[in-house]
């Protein structure tokens, strides 16, 4: 295609879309301090509609990507999220969104809320599999302790799958992961998660267990996962 023709095409298309956007746009194209102030007020306003508060949370999250300009709002934003995360009467969606953001930063209040929910000392803010996943993003110590306990008591596949992944950061759990990976009584998802975790934790132990699995089970989901694990290898230093 001729570049000159392409330029004409693109310019015409942009003129059309920009003209359309100009007539449809009702707010500022890029959020600014005024928008963030309004968003903070909305997020903190428990009488506001949940969907508006959620939109406000997203706007503030996006603003946080503009580090310098957002800096004056950052602490208030985190405090607002902590308030939402701890309030058991907030909507589940808003609470989960607040915990999701806080979990990325290793927030101790979020960790406490998640742990209390998992241990049953407070009403859970999110389902246990989700709580384990969020907790594991930063607080490995607590996550491993609780995941080990959950594996002892929970039969729920999603919980066991998530717990198995968490053990991938715990050297003491290699044996347990190997057992779960080979256990035909476990759900496929749990066995695959165990294989993935063991590969991350102890590639040598994974290799040995993998050959046992491949010898016994062909053309299964665990077979495909294990084969991939054996194929993945570290390139030279790049």
């Amino acid at each position: 295609m001729k570049v000159r023709d392409f330029r004409r095409e693109v310019e015409a298309e942009l003129e059309r879309t920009q003209a359309r956007a100009a007539t449809e746009r009702l707010g500022p194209a890029v959020a600014d301090a005024e928008t963030w102030e309004a968003a903070l007020a909305s997020l903190q306003d428990r009488r506001a509609k949940p969907e508006s508060r959620l939109a406000a949370l997203y706007t503030l999250q996006a603003g946080a990507f503009d580090l310098a300009k957002f800096a004056p709002f950052a602490a208030v934003f985190v405090a607002a999220l902590q308030t939402v995360a701890q309030a058991v009467d907030e909507t589940a969606e808003l609470r989960r969104a607040a915990l999701d953001h806080l979990a990325n930063t290793g927030d101790t209040i979020a960790s406490r809320v998640l742990i209390e929910g998992l241990e049953g000392t407070q009403p859970a803010a999110v389902p246990p599999a989700a709580a384990l996943e969020m907790l594991a993003r930063d607080d490995h110590g607590s996550a491993v302790r609780i995941a080990t306990k959950m594996l002892d008591v929970s039969e729920e596949v999603q919980v066991r799958e998530q717990a198995a992944r968490i053990l991938g950061s715990d050297p003491a759990s290699a044996g347990r992961l190997e057992t779960m990976m080979k256990d035909t009584g476990e759900a496929n998802a749990v066995r695959r998660a165990s294989a993935v975790a063991l590969r991350a934790l102890r590639p040598d132990a994974f290799g040995t267990a993998a050959h046992t699995v491949l010898g016994n089970e062909a053309d299964t989901e665990i077979d495909a996962t294990v084969r991939r694990g054996l194929r993945t290898s570290s390139p030279k230093q790049l």
């Binding site: 996006a62 946080a64 919980v159 694990g229």
Partner: protein, 444 residues
């Protein structure tokens, strides 16, 4: 008589990878009849239908010519120079689907050269083979958390955030970051180019178990994405965390550009491409355009749950790199549309000169600043830990930036319009186009 076609540059296996930017090539004759001084030779495309195609020129410029007649090529073997580039809108899908053929006056084939027009493509347009090649390379780079990807993860953390965010150098830093990653992927698999997620369009085929994964919709599920068994990213591990948590916050069968209500007003969720270009204002200046860091960039990040929605953790998720490739594509396309590739053009960038060491937030963001970590600087306000990467690695496919310590300015003229040295990447919808006649004449 044989014709030998050599294209610069090639990799260690002699393979040639092209973008839309022309590269120098030569043709020379062997065993030619020396009783005459020269022979006419025609260069043309001879690859399979649907494969990549190239265009030719006798000088460094954009061309539409799929054939080039070289008159009186010396019979004594003296090489004749020409320029070759990928034909815009005709990229390859695999190595070898480009074939340059040389024919003599009787139309007999006297030489061939294979290659590939390798450009960054919209992820939803990749063939299954292209997609899997990319995923395989990325999976190998990560190697279940033990591979070189760790350095890329460690480059994009809280302590290094001011190097790359919140100021003018946001786009340049991420361009270098992507280039560094892409060059590593190409060391593993040379046919790979980074794909992009066009976040202002629907892309349902991206968020599926075969590509970037998809979380379970079961009420009790976490946001962990599920891959098909044996997927290349199934073993993805960073920061001691096995797996990737990410759930779209919108119906992925639509573009995430629906407006959301807030505080009685309305803001667009993710700016469309047209609106993003409008940020440059009536004068199309970089100072305005770079506000895209907040939206669409930030807005696209927060369309998901999980680490990808926060600066210090976003690079844990492979999606990060497809998102940022689109951010970079938007910059490249804005540059092309508005002819903003000359680093010395005051509209092409916004803060000039070099930062003073105590320059606070501007260190690393001025036009002539070098960028961390490639410059290995550990003096405040740079991060005080050992830089996760050494210099930017050279590429066998590109001559620029020509240094392992890139400056902000080295990232601006990505097609080498002014410097004549391309960074070695193109986008499927951003052509190579000389900006001014003076430029073209100056670099012939």
């Amino acid at each position: 008589m044989r014709a030998v076609i050599e294209v610069e540059p090639t990799d260690r296996n002699g393979r040639c990878f092209l973008t839309w930017a022309p590269v120098r090539a030569t043709l020379r004759l062997e065993d030619a009849d020396r009783t005459v001084g020269g022979h006419d030779v025609t260069l043309r495309n001879a690859g399979p239908a649907g494969g990549g195609r190239v265009v030719f020129s006798t000088r460094f410029t954009q061309s539409d010519d799929a054939e080039l007649r070289l008159q009186q090529v010396a019979s004594d073997g003296t090489p004749r120079t020409f320029w070759v580039a990928g034909e815009f809108r005709s990229p390859s899908t695999a190595y070898g689907d480009v074939v340059i053929e040389a024919v003599d006056n009787s139309n007999a084939v006297i030489g061939k050269r294979d290659g590939m027009v390798r450009v960054r493509k919209n992820a939803v347009a990749l063939t299954a083979a292209e997609r899997d090649l990319f995923l395989d390379a990325l999976g190998q780079l990560n190697d279940a958390g033990g591979g070189p990807f760790r350095a890329f993860r460690d480059m994009h953390v809280a302590a290094s955030a001011p190097e790359a965010h919140g100021a003018a150098g946001f786009l340049a830093w991420h361009r270098a970051y992507l280039l560094d990653l892409e060059r590593c992927l190409q060391e593993i698999e040379p046919a790979v180019a980074l794909p992009y997620w066009r976040f202002d369009e629907a892309a349902p085929s991206l968020f599926v178990p075969e590509f970037l994964g998809s979380p379970s919709n079961s009420p009790g599920a976490s946001d962990l994405v599920v891959f098909r068994p044996g997927h290349a990213l199934e073993f993805w591990t960073t920061d001691g965390v096995v797996g990737i948590a990410r759930r779209p916050r919108w119906d992925i069968t639509f573009a995430p550009t629906t407006n959301v209500s807030i505080g009685g007003g309305t803001i667009p969720a993710v700016l469309t491409e047209g609106d993003t270009f409008e940020l440059g204002g009536s004068q199309d200046r970089y100072a305005g355009f770079r506000r895209m860091e907040a939206n669409p960039h930030g807005a696209a990040h927060v369309r998901f749950t999980g680490p990808v929605n926060s600066v210090p953790t976003a690079a844990r998720d492979p999606l990060f790199f497809l998102l940022h490739t689109n951010v970079d594509r938007l910059w490249a396309r804005w540059q092309w549309l508005n002819r903003r590739s000359n680093a010395d053009d005051p509209s092409a960038y916004s803060v000039f000169g070099t930062s003073r060491p105590d320059g606070g937030g501007t260190v690393g963001h001025r036009l002539d600043d070098t960028m961390w970590p490639w410059n290995q600087d550990r003096v405040a306000p740079r991060p005080d830990f050992v830089p996760p990467r050494a210099g930017l690695p050279p590429s066998p496919y590109a001559t620029a930036p020509g240094t392992g310590t890139p400056r902000v300015r080295d990232m601006i003229d990505f097609h080498g319009l002014y410097s004549r040295g391309s960074l070695g990447f193109s986008y499927d919808d951003v052509p190579f186009e000389i900006e001014t006649l003076e430029t073209e004449e100056a670099i012939v």
